[in-house]
């Protein structure tokens, strides 16, 4: 039970691709935060987070995503949450975050 992340910059789309595998919770959210901050320091542009293999996210993890989104919004950029599992979609719907992030798949 932990979190693995892969990140990649796609120049032709000017977009970060981030794959998150495992669980984002109070224990792992800080690593996600650091990873995203590093990416945005390098290039403040859209992030596509592939959640196909994300099993769990808690309010701490959602808070990290909201923090990153706020920073991106200043440059009119966004976060795309791709292929969330049903449990994660449910959380995004309950919290209204499905209207704030772009949800794909």
């Amino acid at each position: 039970m932990s979190l693995k992340m892969n990140t990649q910059y796609l120049a032709e789309k000017n977009m970060w691709y981030v794959e998150v595998v495992g669980e984002i919770d109070i224990y792992t959210a800080n690593r996600l935060k650091e990873t995203l901050i590093n990416l945005l320091n390098e290039q403040n542009t859209d992030i596509r987070i592939n959640c196909e293999e994300l099993d769990y996210i808690d309010s701490t993890g959602l808070g990290v995503l909201i923090g990153a989104l706020k920073r991106l919004k200043q440059d009119n950029k966004n976060i795309i949450i791709a292929n969330p599992k049903p449990n994660i979609s449910k959380l995004l719907n309950i919290t209204g975050l499905n209207k704030i992030f772009i949800i794909e798949g």
Partner: protein, 137 residues
């Protein structure tokens, strides 16, 4: 009279996943369906996360999770002996303008059938949450 099970864990982030697994095992044994098991797991984890982040307990102070089970429901109490807070002051999050924090209690209330927060400044906080088996009430 139902069964009761309790766990005492250190106030450290790395133990929340242990509680999640235990909670899932209990809920699954009781016959909750997959979605309900997930709801209960998420709610308990959010309450533990609050105890760890906000109660201001020392990391080697443990806090408690108590599960009460009968044929109809599970009642879970997450209890810390920390700072406490004014729970009346907790506001619902403004879903149109999200903030980094303030989602935990809202998520718990959304996922469980009944939620009662009790907090005494200087003494600690107990959040009690109930989920019923079978049809939603």
């Amino acid at each position: 009279m139902g069964d009761s099970l309790s766990i005492s864990i250190p106030s450290k982030p790395e133990y929340v996943s242990v509680v999640r697994l235990t909670t899932s095992a209990i809920a699954s044994r009781m016959g909750f369906n997959v979605e309900e098991i997930e709801d209960i797991k998420v709610a308990v984890a959010e309450a533990c996360t609050n105890a760890i982040i906000h109660s201001n307990c020392k990391q080697d102070d443990n806090f408690n999770i108590h599960f009460g089970m009968d044929e109809k429901k599970i009642v879970i109490q997450v209890q810390d002996q920390g700072n406490g807070f004014y729970c009346e002051a907790v506001e619902e999050p403004d879903l149109t303008s999200p903030k980094e924090g303030g989602l935990g209690i809202f998520i718990i209330k959304s996922l469980m059938d009944e939620v009662v927060l009790e907090s005494d400044i200087g003494k600690g906080t107990t959040i009690k949450m109930t989920k019923y088996l079978g049809d939603d009430i």
